[in-house]
Amino acid sequence: MKISKEQTIDNQSIYKQQGQLASVWLRFRKNKLAVLGLLIFLIIVVLSITADLWLDYDKQAIEHNMGIRLQSPNSDHLFGTDQYGRDVFTRIIYGTRISLLISLLTIVLSLVIGGGIGAMAGYFGGRLDSLLMRIMDILLSIPAILLALTIVAALGNGILNLIIALTVSTIPRFAYIVRSTVLTIKDQEFIEAAKAYGTNNIQIIIKHIIPNIIGPTIVQATTNMANTILLISSLSYVGLGLPSSIPEWGAMISDAKENMRHFAYLVYIPGIAIVISVMAMNLIGDGLRDALDPKLRN
């Protein structure tokens, strides 16, 4: 791999952070599959944000229209209609919103809580570290679906409870990520220097820790989005998920489970949407991991 002059100089320049980001992006860009993934993801985000401009949520996605129920894909309804006469295409597009929202919320919450825990554990070390990480181990030992079932068993179905379950499952991962970053940086000399100089702790955190955790965080986030969708789908299948009016892909699939044999498109279409999104997420994640991997820099 050719090393450009700019890259060499960048690593030594005082604009270190800017250079790091740029070099990561350059490496990422070379990975065509990863770029494809990013493209798909951006399309999803754009669709989700602009949906209201060109689709009528209430009329097509929510309102029941018995007269046109269970139509295979046709010219009026690109993806057909479901058992209540709702337009599947509209619901797929709005489904991006729900998936993104739930995943985003979960990630942010887990990052803040888990990151906070990890930072404390790494920074203060000792007994606190042991205690906190032991608790994190406990959370890691329970598969997300079991935790979700526990919470559903106790508190019932619904978006809020699902978000709680997913957040709790993801917290330990962020705790580990942040903790290991903190540990790596903690003893380095420039921290001592910065402290001696008078920079307070918060500035240290922002300047040094955050850039280092962005990469692993995004990687984790991509895995998470995929798992969220699949988890909701599994829970809905066994009857413990979301009400059918909410256009979430996973829920749409298990809603259609009774119609699976005779109206297979009701399962295919959300299924393919899931596959494409999950693939995009994973491609981004893989590409990012490769781009960040120091071993691949040569």
């Binding site: 006469g85 619904g158 009857g239 009774e258 044999r261 005779h262």
Partner: protein, 524 residues
């Protein structure tokens, strides 16, 4: 180079996927000769003539007659136990273990004449003591309150007669006595092992228990010394199959012979498949929109209840939530229950009138929440109801509640204005679904949770309950339904269907309004 590789790869994968799954779905539209050979290696599958495998989606709670309190348990137990009075599949009540019975003048005492020579599954003979013990155990059990609520106690009169004391004259008593809660079992067997009795009952029914593998199956075999003709099918296996789609596939491969409650979306397919048969009937349960008639928005504004009654389109609900597989009902008694008033004038769907009425009422448009339980049908039905209420101008929202929370808040404590729920009638008599639900004696606490308090209703229900004249009772129930309609107590919607899908070679397959699968009636 990589670009084209990637594209090619994705295309290849897509093609593979579609071919694979397309094969799966198109083939299902043509019922092939799918009775394939696999049963020879499978000891538990039916081998044609001498055994039958029936799939349920839940397990019985217990095999003890005095503990049965849900439909699955009742159904399984009905094959193990006999009762003093038996209910035939067409609803007629005929002598069972008792050959005849007489009432006292005030109808609070019944003397039964017991048949003789009836054997228990373990070979011992049934005596009057066994009957008395069984009945008193049932009366004492808290799980049989629905059936034994009116029973005081039973006493032995002599070796062939027993007397049942009632707390009050009760028109539906024979129906209650025919329920498997009042099944007769061996006192000696129970006393030998009361704990184990729930898994190894000894009774007089056409089948006796062989084994119960938790979560998997209950295996029974025909009782050779049954006091009537022994059952036609020797081996009976109740199998637990949680998913109805899988169940249908298993039915088609011959791994099971009868499927209880197939998916409504599969009905057409089953009927068109010559290897299968389908039997349906309206369940003894009905869904409704209920109002809190004592506290809250709908209690204070009767006109709002009228709006709702005109805003509900039961046909659309039936179609959307149940694929049209159900029966509409326009009064508070399910269509198959005795004393269902024929040709009753219920509510009609008038959305325009509802809209107008709502506007005129000056209703401020506050948000109304409609709680429902977070289980399949309830949820689906409520979603359609919410849509229909929104269409006439309510700002309605669904409030999906976890079922015990629903039971606690709505049922027991009445913390709601409007909700969607269902009732089931466990006996073939309107009293089972009317009395405790609308009588002021039972206000709140989980029975009369609509909080309906009307002395006129009370007297109608009392009269209907205590009379022994069927015509009088029918009239009283009709009047009660009319009263409920005019008072807008609740808006009845539909009865779902109980369906049985079965191998076409089976005879006697008939769906039951209480999901009772009485295998004695079946034969190959």
């Amino acid at each position: 180079m990589r670009k084209s590789l990637r594209l090619f790869t994705i295309l290849l994968t897509a093609v593979l996927l579609f071919t694979f799954s397309a094969c799966g779905s198109t083939e299902s539209n043509e019922p092939e000769d799918s009775h394939t050979t696999k049963s020879s290696e499978d000891p538990k599958a039916s081998e044609g003539k001498d055994s039958i495998t029936i799939a349920y989606n839940a397990e019985p709670v217990s095999l003890a007659s005095y503990e049965a309190n849900n439909l699955t348990t009742h159904s399984v137990c009905s094959n193990l136990y006999d009762t003093l009075i038996r209910e035939e599949s067409d609803g007629e009540l005929v002598p069972g273990l008792a050959s005849e019975w007489t009432y006292s003048d005030d109808n609070t005492e019944i003397v039964f004449t017991l048949r003789e020579g009836i054997k228990f599954h373990d070979g011992s003979e049934m005596t009057a003591e066994d009957v008395v013990f069984s009945m008193n155990t049932a009366i004492a059990s808290s799980k049989t309150a629905r059936m034994t609520g009116s029973f005081e106690k039973m006493e032995k009169v002599d070796d062939t007669h027993v007397k049942l004391y009632l707390k009050y004259p009760y028109g539906a008593v024979e129906s209650c006595l025919s329920n498997d809660n009042c099944g007769i079992f061996s006192k000696a067997a129970y006393e030998k092992d009361p704990e184990g009795f729930t898994r190894n009952p000894v009774a007089t029914g056409p089948y006796k228990i062989v084994s119960w593998t938790a979560g998997e199956s209950v295996v029974m075999e025909a009782f050779a010394d049954y006091w009537r003709e022994p059952a036609a099918i020797k081996n009976l296996i109740f199998r637990i199959v949680p998913d109805a789609s899988s169940g249908l596939v298993a039915l088609e491969t011959g791994q099971i012979d009868v499927l209880n409650l197939p998916n409504t979306t599969d009905f057409d397919y089953i009927e068109s498949n010559s290897k299968l048969q389908l039997s349906t009937t309206a369940a003894n349960s009905f869904y409704f929109v209920a109002f809190n008639c004592t506290d809250g928005l709908f209690a204070e504004n009767k006109v709002l209840r009228e709006v709702v009654a005109n805003a509900i389109d039961p046909e659309a609900i039936l179609l959307g939530a149940l694929d049209g597989q159900g029966e509409l009902v326009n009064c508070a008694i399910p269509v198959n229950v005795k004393f269902f008033p024929q040709e009753f004038d219920g509510y009609s769907y008038n959305p325009d009138y509802a809209k107008q009425l709502l506007k005129e009422s000056g209703f401020e448009g506050q948000k109304i929440k409609i709680p429902c339980m977070d289980v399949g049908n309830d949820l689906a039905i409520t979603e359609v109801v919410v849509e229909q209420l929104k269409a006439v101008g309510f700002d309605a929202e669904i409030d999906m509640m976890e079922s015990t929370a629903f039971l606690a808040d709505v049922y027991t404590n009445g913390l709601y204005d409007i909700c969607v729920n269902s009732y089931t009638c466990f006996i073939n008599d309107a009293d089972g679904i009317m009395y405790m639900r609308y009588h002021s004696d039972y206000l709140g606490g989980g029975n009369n949770f609509v909080m309906y308090n009307n002395p006129e209703m009370d007297s109608l229900l009392d009269k209907a309950r205590s009379s022994d004249n069927d015509d009088e009772r029918a009239l009283a129930y009709r009047d009660a339904c009319t009263l409920m309609r005019d008072d807008y107590v609740l808006v009845p919607i539909l009865c779902y269907l109980n369906a049985l899908a079965a191998d076409a070679d089976l005879n006697g397959i008939k769906a039951s309004d209480r999901q009772r699968i009485y295998v004695y009636d079946f034969s190959w």
